[in-house]
């Protein structure tokens, strides 16, 4: 009710491992078969519904308490499941009717589980980078939140054409390597009168020539295998390094 006052509605599952669970009254409810449900609505003094409770029988029963949704039939839950058929097992489409409140709840309840799994089992920053400093572990994990959120944003924006997670992280890594953050906004130095002025500082210019890590993007989409060519900072010929070997 406190949340409803702020304009927010709630759908939650009742915790069963709790001593306050009204087991006796729930056991008195009769559910005919899988996919059936019973509901109860609490109304205020004016007769308007305040919140509802719904018990839905899937393979196990679930009890929802909600200030949103309704007990009207929602879209049935459809899954492919292995079933014993005469002569063997087959994958059968199982369709279980569900109330609207269960449809809304199960439509979004797994997003944080997915976030945890993809962050911890696909990116695996915690697993890969061991540390004895707890704050380092927690901060790097938060960084993992940002990396995975970037992929979620990418997949939301690009739709089916988006990169897979691993490919996205490689793409992000190559972008971070070639970042021009430190050279953005730097003005070129005034001419010193030398024939060969010092090339501007940038990634790849140092003791060794380092190739660019940017990849060429093929027109068909996906990740390319060829290095993207740039122009040399001095002689403007095509090269895969920032400064070609002739000008070094």
């Amino acid at each position: 009710m406190a949340l409803k006052g702020t304009g927010l509605r709630l759908i939650g599952v009742v915790k069963t491992a709790h001593r306050r669970l009204p087991m006796a009254s729930l056991a008195a409810q009769e559910l005919r078969a899988r996919g059936s449900w019973v509901s109860m609505v609490h109304t205020d003094t004016s007769g308007a519904p305040e919140f509802m409770a719904a018990m839905w029988a899937d393979r196990n029963w679930r009890v929802f308490v909600a200030t949103a949704g309704s007990a009207r039939p929602g879209a049935p839950c459809e899954r492919l499941r292995w079933c014993q058929i005469d002569g063997g097992a087959e994958r059968v489409a199982v369709s279980v009717p569900q109330p609207e409140v269960a449809e809304i709840y199960y439509g979004c309840c797994a997003h944080i589980y997915r976030h945890n799994r993809c962050r911890q089992d696909v990116l695996r920053l915690e697993h890969t980078l061991g540390t004895h400093d707890w704050s380092q572990r927690v901060n790097v994990s938060f960084l993992g939140f940002c990396f995975f959120d970037a992929w979620l944003l990418h997949s939301e924006a690009r739709g089916p054409a988006s990169l897979k997670q691993a490919a996205f992280y490689e793409d992000l890594a190559s972008g971070l390597i070639a970042n021009t953050f430190d050279s953005t906004g730097a003005r070129p130095r005034a001419a010193t009168g030398e024939n060969h002025p010092t090339p501007p500082l940038g990634y790849g210019v140092g003791v060794h020539l380092t190739p660019t890590t940017m990849r060429r993007h093929p027109s068909a989409g996906g990740a390319g295998v060829f290095l993207a060519q740039r122009r040399c900072c001095l002689c403007t010929t095509h090269t895969s390094t920032l400064v070609c070997s002739e000008c070094r």
Binding site: A2, I112, R137, A173
Partner: protein
């Protein structure tokens, strides 16, 4: 979900209220979700720590390259972290990691940054110098700025869909910690039904695509009681947590 990015090489498309931002590559998506002020703060704090050790200062570009090293390290199998800079492959079927040539960051530079990387400011007065030991308040201060920056960034840039999912996450930690000792993780959570022990976070995510919207650390009961507002003390704990996580998008 609507995401109004304010940083990066984006292109504006459309007109009027329906316009949206289109990002070019993965880096732009990262900048859209990573708080800009945090990068500045990390650079300042890490530079201060490096200079106190008589090491050269760092820059935002170098911090981003360091993040790149963290990502690429997850793509290789290695025993010791130093193996990532090896120029000879461990097997003929695997490429040499050669991080020095691959990322442009050498091992001594990475190690210096890894040991000096600081995300949050320590409060003035009291507590130990590095915050690893001492009162709970000083230990939480090592990570608080990251959370507050992320929360402020998401609050100002993200408009979630019609549903918000609230749950909890665990960050794995098997080192020292707990409210009974003054070192390590201040609130060590070990629950049988959870796959990992460590630091517990209550979080809210967009119900449409799962982008994390708000994070809240689970601290000790004493710390929660001390930081509880008058309104929160009037309601049940679960309601107070929900209000804290979804309040920016209420109404």
């Amino acid at each position: 979900m609507v995401f109004t990015g304010s940083w990066g090489r984006h292109h504006q498309r459309g007109r009027g209220r329906g316009r949206f931002w289109s990002y070019e590559d993965a880096l732009d998506y990262f900048f859209a979700v990573f708080p800009q002020d945090l990068l500045t703060r990390v650079t300042e704090l890490t530079t201060a720590k490096l200079e106190s050790r008589r090491l050269p200062p760092t820059s935002p570009g170098e911090i981003l390259k360091f993040f790149d090293n963290l990502i690429i390290a997850t793509r290789f199998q290695f025993g010791s972290r130093a193996d990532l800079w090896a120029t000879a492959p461990r097997s003929k079927h695997m490429p040499a990691p050669a991080f020095g040539a691959r990322t442009g960051m050498f091992r001594h530079c990475f190690d210096a940054l890894w040991s000096a990387l600081t995300f949050s400011r320590q409060p003035a007065g009291g507590g130990s110098a590095n915050g690893q030991s001492g009162g709970e308040r000083y230990r939480w201060a090592l990570i608080n700025d990251f959370i507050s920056s992320m929360n402020a960034h998401r609050e100002s840039h993200v408009a979630p869909g019609d549903t918000i999912c609230v749950d909890e996450s665990m960050i794995k930690w098997y080192g020292p910690g707990g409210p009974w000792i003054s070192i390590g993780l201040p609130m060590y959570v070990a629950i049988d039904r959870k796959p990992e022990n460590g630091c517990e976070i209550q979080n809210a995510a967009c119900g449409r695509n799962g982008v994390m919207l708000r994070l809240h650390l689970v601290t000790t009961a004493a710390d929660q009681y001390a930081n509880m507002s008058a309104e929160e003390s009037q309601v049940l704990h679960g309601t107070a947590v929900l209000q804290r996580l979804v309040s920016p998008w209420a109404g």
